[in-house]
Amino acid sequence: MSRAQAGHGTLIAMELTVPAAFTTFAELNGDIEFPGINRPETEITPHNDGIDSWSLGVMHRDALKFSVNFIFDDPTHDYSSGVYGKLQANSFVGFRVRGPGVTVGGIGADEWIASGQVQSVTQKAPVRQGVRTADVTVRLSGPMIIAGAQFGGSVT
């Protein structure tokens, strides 16, 4: 029997101040895309070989992107402690992406925690139909904690 799980209930939270408890972003709408993680490749095939060889480099992450129903005075959206405030201050704060798997595995079992900076916020106000929304991009930096364990630490 499949153990597939619906994606609804995935939440993103941010430290409004540092250090502080995580505050879940209000009204996360749309699909949430966890940052893609990849290693860049360099081909190292020597002339001596008859087949290719590759070396994979350090892990790189795509930006964390999400959207919200924009609430102008919500502390996670606003120009003070919210994403606009963080963008202006260019501050490093903690971000947490928690999947619905926490209902099965418990808190921490299905979450990513990392430091990052708000890189862009694009707000939209439809003229005819629809609600105000904002698209947010966060650039994560440094090691993460995934499912309670460090992911991507220092090179020893």
Binding site: H8, L11, T24, E27, L28, N29, I32, N69, Q129, V131
Partner: protein, 137 residues
Amino acid sequence: MFHCIECIAAQPPFAYDIDTEGRAMFSINFNILSDDIPTQYPDDVLIYLAGLSLAQPAVNSFIGSQAVIPTGAGPFALFVPTSGYPTLETQDSSETKNVYVGLQIVVRGASFIAASNRANAIWSALDGIRNRNIPGE
């Protein structure tokens, strides 16, 4: 009362039929987005229009498919809930979902012009309402 995020008419009123008494029938179809579940929204919309002197409940305006429309010249309006769009959900299900409901208002009258005028007045009053409580603040 419900909080209306937006009330958008699908199109201007259009004449689509005549009833058994030969009265011209106009249909206006709205999609209403609310941040709660507006269980009595046809009533609320009717009360709102009554406040604008565009409807008289149980006199020239009625609610639901079981309403008995009086005989006579009218124009009479019937408010019928219809299907809307899928709910706009947020990831946090503990937050209120934004619910799309539909409302069809059918205006019928012995005079094509009178029915058209009333349908257009209702359309103008409701189309584009945003970010307010219905029927009142």
